[in-house]
């Protein structure tokens, strides 16, 4: 199989982390000048595999061929020398450095910086022009938006002479428009003869841009197919190992009374930065309100204010008609008591105590309920009993109420948090990033549970950076940008393009017009 037209080939690569077999007998062949997708659920071993190719980890077994030549890659330097560049999921950039300094780090061209810097500047300007990667080389990386930081990463790889570019989940932090721009860049790279390997768990991206796709499941490579010969459903089935519903089936919502309302809410943080600007929102019984937006545009603060963790600087919040601001109920604890459930955005920081067992986590926030107490001590039997109930209802695996929370996978941890908040039967449920880091199979389950709660007449707020998720779950969608609500629209009227533009700060009407124009030109 090894021919001159193969850019990268792996043969029977194995990698263990302790007892975990992260990569099992992986073989892969990537053609030169193609965009090759590698898709799989979280934890399927995609990133591990690519880290091996990049020399960040060493394979325990197996061979790597670059351009048909066997290659021993035991550190990133060897990989760079072989012409492989990687854009990591979490950018490997120094925020306090300029773009130029970041690019030359490791390839400074001499012990003094002066000469190498000038050369690098010229070379960078050439690269930026050739691949339409505009970035100001003297800007501080910390000041750049994520889309541009990603370009810096690509430039870094190209500057080191990369022929094969690996991108690990590159669109996780981008708006759909930014992602499209990235895809145009990748197409340019391919046209110039570079090879691109795209690691992702998003089917949309695989279908949109790749030539070939390899599917991984539980550390194994389960299929290699040409993109044009497959479809989303087939890929999803290959990823999960059974057929999956990609879209949530639900009835039309029947909104009832307003349960919670925000009026003119502002929030200023301790650095006097205005994080929320004049927010007006209503949560209605029997309806799911989705908040879309690129992360960091005020969604976290919104959730924390509604959850009683921080207080607004101005504005009013009512709960079932009663004003909350200034009331004794307005705290995370007080709100739970009057029927508000909160699944925090970050389950590791705020949702769970990882070193506590599942049953201890089951009662967090509800630990003073009578059922969990026996006089002055905790009722351990009841805790375990309740946890077992939750585990059964939410199909948590492994079904062990005494296992520490960090012994569960991301999806199962999320199920534990959801079970805790949903099973206390709240009237209003706040959910931040319901399926972040959760497998497709579990996503389907979580979405169904949320719809079921909605149909039972509860008001639900879902904050998510996954545009697909907001579109398929929500009945009404509000888009946040820079701390403000850019617009609110009915889910039936929402298109990906329209939401994408709004997420970049374009107002609803302008977004509708622009989306129409875009559609007309396509």
């Amino acid at each position: 199989m090894t021919t001159a037209n193969t850019a990268l080939e792996l043969r029977r690569v194995n990698k263990w982390f302790g007892p975990v077999h992260a990569n099992r007998d992986i073989s892969l062949s990537v053609g030169r000048g193609t965009i090759h997708g590698i898709i799989g659920e979280n934890g399927a071993g995609k990133s591990t595999l690519m880290s091996i190719v990049y020399g960040f980890y060493q394979a325990d077994d197996g061979e790597i061929f670059v351009g048909g030549v066997p290659c021993k890659i035991d550190n990133p330097q060897a990989s760079i020398a072989a012409g492989i560049g990687m854009v990591h999921q979490h950018f490997m950039l120094v925020d306090t450095f300029t773009v130029l300094e970041n690019v030359i780090l490791g390839v400074e061209g001499g012990s003094r910086l002066a000469g190498g810097m000038d050369q690098a500047r010229e070379e960078l300007e050439r690269l930026e022009e050739e691949y339409t990667l505009d970035v100001d080389v003297d800007a501080l990386v910390g000041d750049l938006p994520v889309g541009l930081r990603q370009r810096v990463e690509i430039l870094k790889a190209l500057y080191r002479g990369a022929e094969i570019l690996i991108l690990d989940e590159p669109t996780g932090v981008l708006t759909p428009q930014e992602a499209d721009h990235l895809f145009r860049i990748l197409n340019t790279l391919r046209d110039q003869g570079k090879t691109v390997i795209l690691i992702t768990h998003k089917l949309r991206e695989i279908m949109a841009i790749t030539d070939q796709v390899s599917v991984m499941r539980r550390g194994e490579m389960v299929a290699h197919v040409a993109t044009e010969e497959t479809n989303r459903e087939q890929l999803a089935e290959l990823m999960v190992g059974r057929s999956v519903l990609l879209h949530v089936e639900k009835e039309k919502a029947e909104p009832g009374d307003i349960l919670m309302e925000m009026q003119g809410v502002n929030y200023q943080d301790s650095d006097a930065v205005l994080r929320l600007k004049d927010i007006n929102l209503t949560l209605k019984a029997g309806e799911i309100l989705g908040i879309a937006g690129v992360s960091g545009n005020g969604q976290s603060e919104l959730l924390e204010i509604l959850g009683g963790m921080i207080k607004p600087s101005a504005g009013s919040i009512t709960y079932k008609g009663d004003e909350l601001v200034g009331s004794s109920h307005y705290s995370a604890r007080g709100l739970r008591k009057i029927g508000l459930g909160h699944v925090p955005e970050d389950r590791h920081k705020a949702g769970l105590i990882l070193s506590f067992s599942a049953n201890e986590n089951t009662i967090l926030g509800y630990h003073d309920l009578d059922m969990f107490n026996k006089g002055t001590t905790l009722n351990r039997d009841q805790m375990v009993q309740t946890c077992e109930d939750y585990i059964e209802k939410f199909d948590v695996r492994p079904p062990n109420p005494n296992l520490k929370a960090n012994g569960f996978s991301g999806g199962n941890q999320q199920k534990l948090v959801l079970a805790r908040e949903m099973e206390q039967d709240p009237d209003v449920l706040l959910v931040g990033q319901p399926t972040r880091g959760v497998d497709i199979g579990a996503i389907e389950f979580i979405h169904k549970q949320l719809i079921k709660m909605r149909d039972a007449g509860k008001a639900i707020l879902v904050v998510s950076v996954e545009i697909d998720e907001v579109m398929s779950l929500a009945d009404r969608i509000a888009v946040m940008f820079d701390g403000a609500i850019v617009g609110e629209l009915d889910a039936a009227d929402a298109t990906e393009q329209k939401l994408g533009l709004m997420m970049a700060g374009v107002t609803e009407e302008a977004a509708s017009d622009a989306a129409l124009v875009q559609e007309a030109t396509n």
């Binding site: 982390f17 990049y54 960040f56 980890y57 550190n75 990133p76 330097q77 990989s79 760079i80 990687m86 990591h88 979490h90 490997m92 950039l93 120094v94 925020d95 306090t96 450095f97 300094e101 970041n102 030359i104 780090l105 490791g106 390839v107 400074e108 001499g110 012990s111 003094r112 910086l113 002066a114 190498g116 870094k156």
Partner: protein, 323 residues
């Protein structure tokens, strides 16, 4: 004219007090910019002071003392690196351990070797770094103001004072204009970026800590063989911590750190001069209060006036490749 001369003398004392602070603060700058907390500056300086005095008195040469001081400090610095970089130990614990070990070991060894209750014998002649009179210092002394400043303030210090003065621009140059400096700054901010760029994080941190050890060694030597004339137990008296404070006050940058050191040194020189002086209105201030001034100033500065300090982002965290 009298105030002018007094000011010059005060600044002259400031320079002498500031020298070890500047060297140690710059030492800490390398370590902390590379992402390794170095609370063990104090111990390294103390160890170097003892080794320098012991070697100088034994061999009768201050330069041998300097070598011994630097070697000792380098050894302690390597120990810190071995614990925190190779074995990813807690950096504060390791630094504190070095401080405690050295504080106990130096008087013990001193007592065993010199039988002087933990001191080393008084140094004189070539065993001490003596003052250097710069060229023309005497000739220009009579030129008003400038000549006097040159002769009294600029000239007449020992070699280490001049080394410290030269160290500031050299460190600034290395940090901002060389490959090594770029990498040190990068590894303190984001070691993952350094690792993926194909540079060994551990080697880089070892190198930075070696520079730290080197500079601490010079500072310690200064205390016992230039500023003082022999080793006395606990002679560093918290200067390592004061230098750390100056480093934070100077926001981990060489030139602001220099000024922070000068400020601390100035208050120290001032307190020496104010002792027993009858001030207008307030009268004679108790000596204990005056002696506490530099430390009160440190607390006030760090608590209130620094503003938001932005330490290197990866400081204090051992580098572990995540799974």
């Amino acid at each position: 004219m009298e105030t002018f001369e007094l000011t010059v003398l005060l600044l002259d004392a400031t320079f002498r007090v500031a020298t070890p602070l500047v060297l140690v603060a710059l030492a800490g700058l390398f370590s902390e910019r590379a992402g390794v907390v170095d609370i063990g500056l104090e111990g390294k300086m103390l160890g170097a002071a003892f080794a320098a005095a012991a070697a100088a008195t034994t061999f009768g040469s201050a330069w041998v003392g300097l070598c011994a001081g630097i070697m000792t400090s380098l050894a302690l610095s390597s120990l810190h690196a071995y614990a925190c970089v190779t074995h990813k130990g807690n950096q504060v614990v390791s630094g504190m351990a070095i401080n405690i070990v050295v504080a106990g070991l130096t008087p013990t060894l001193g007592f065993a070797w010199f039988k002087l209750g933990g001191r080393t014998p008084a140094l004189n002649g070539d065993a001490r770094f003596s003052s250097i009179t710069l060229p023309f210092a005497e000739a220009v002394r009579d030129i008003p103001i400038i000549g006097y400043i040159y002769a009294e303030l600029i000239s007449g210090h020992n070699i280490i004072v001049y080394i410290a003065a030269a160290a500031v621009p050299i460190v600034a140059y290395v940090l901002y204009r060389t490959r090594f400096g770029l990498r040190v700054r990068a590894v303190g901010e984001n070691p993952h970026a350094v690792d993926t760029a194909g540079i060994s994080v551990n080697t880089l941190r070892y190198q930075a800590l070696a520079v730290t050890g080197f500079l601490c060694g010079i500072a310690g030597t200064y205390l016992s063989t230039a500023h003082g004339a022999g080793f006395i137990r606990d002679m560093t008296a918290g200067k390592g911590y004061l230098a750390l404070a100056a480093l934070i006050f100077g926001k981990w940058k060489p030139v602001p750190t220099l000024f922070a050191c000068l400020l601390f040194a100035f208050t120290d020189a001032l307190q020496a001069r104010l002792q027993g002086v009858d001030l207008p209105i307030v009268g004679v201030i108790p000596v204990q209060f005056i002696q506490a001034l530099p430390y009160i100033l440190t607390v006030l500065l760090l608590a209130g006036f620094v503003g938001k300090a932005n330490p290197p982002k990866a400081i204090g965290e051992p580098y572990i490749k995540e799974r």
